[in-house]
């Protein structure tokens, strides 16, 4: 199978509308006939990434590569960066504001959930420049 590349812009600012990129990806993965569990894990990872981008980085871009044996999702933003990645990875730690919390986000579970549902996760971040979170989800053969 040839690698399929998908690119989705993530709008910043509007948490209410967040999830459009993940919804579109989910639909595409379904059409490609991937296993339901793989689709679910990829969708949750991307949605959490989307929410993070909207809350912290005023949007960004999601790049998805669907290969025969794995799905690679890159969430790329030019936001403020993460000063302490270890702290950000702790369940319950969050710097989200009150609006996000009122909507049910900001529980400090975004990055931990991305790790939980992926097989591999890397965070490249630089304060003042931006963050790229990459997750890989294996497709059982």
């Amino acid at each position: 199978m040839e690698t399929i590349r998908l690119v989705y812009p993530v709008e910043g600012g509007d948490l209410i509308e967040a999830g459009e990129a993940s919804s579109k990806m989910k639909l595409t993965l379904k059409k490609l006939g991937l296993p339901q569990d793989v689709i679910r894990r990829a969708s949750i990872c991307m949605y959490e990434g989307e929410i993070n981008m909207v809350i912290h980085a005023d949007g960004g871009q999601a790049e998805v590569e669907v290969e025969a044996d794995q799905i690679v999702i890159r969430m790329i933003d030019t936001g403020p960066g993460i000063p302490d990645v270890e702290q950000a990875m702790q369940e319950g730690y969050s710097t989200a504001g009150s609006t996000a919390r009122e909507l049910g986000f900001g529980a400090g579970m975004g990055l931990p959930n991305m790790k939980r549902y992926s097989d591999e996760m890397t965070i490249d971040t630089e304060v003042g420049k931006g963050t790229t979170v990459t997750v890989k989800i294996k497709v059982p053969q």
Binding site: L15, I16, G19, Q36, R40, S43, G104, F105, A107
Partner: protein, 109 residues
């Protein structure tokens, strides 16, 4: 048990029913959306009092069978629209969350 059967068994309010034959395999209760995504199992019924449109996106990503708004909470117009767009089963019940969860537990047992 299917979503349609659960509606009859618990006399649930139907706000939007896109997939009546979807099976239900458990229950999750929670209002923090990332917590729900981290913990709710696939095909479960999700009990919550959150009624903004992100609920529909979370239900879709987490692949839950249905959302049940407890305590008589009504979905806001955007949530209803998004549930229709995303084919999410959106239901409601007047009782409090604890009573609804107990009733659901009995029905699923």
């Amino acid at each position: 048990m299917t979503v349609q059967e659960l509606i009859s068994a618990m006399d649930l309010t139907v706000f939007h029913l896109a997939q009546p034959e979807r099976p239900i395999s458990g229950c999750y209760v929670g209002d923090l959306l990332s917590w729900v995504m981290g913990r709710a199992g696939q095909d479960c019924a999700w009990l919550t009092i959150m009624s903004n449109q992100n609920v529909a996106a979370v239900a879709l990503m987490a692949d839950v069978s249905c959302v049940i708004l407890t305590e008589g909470v009504q979905p806001d117009a955007d949530l209803l629209r998004r549930a229709q767009d995303k084919e999410v089963n959106l239901l409601g019940i007047g009782s409090d969350t604890f009573s609804a969860a107990c009733q659901l537990g009995k029905v699923l047992a």
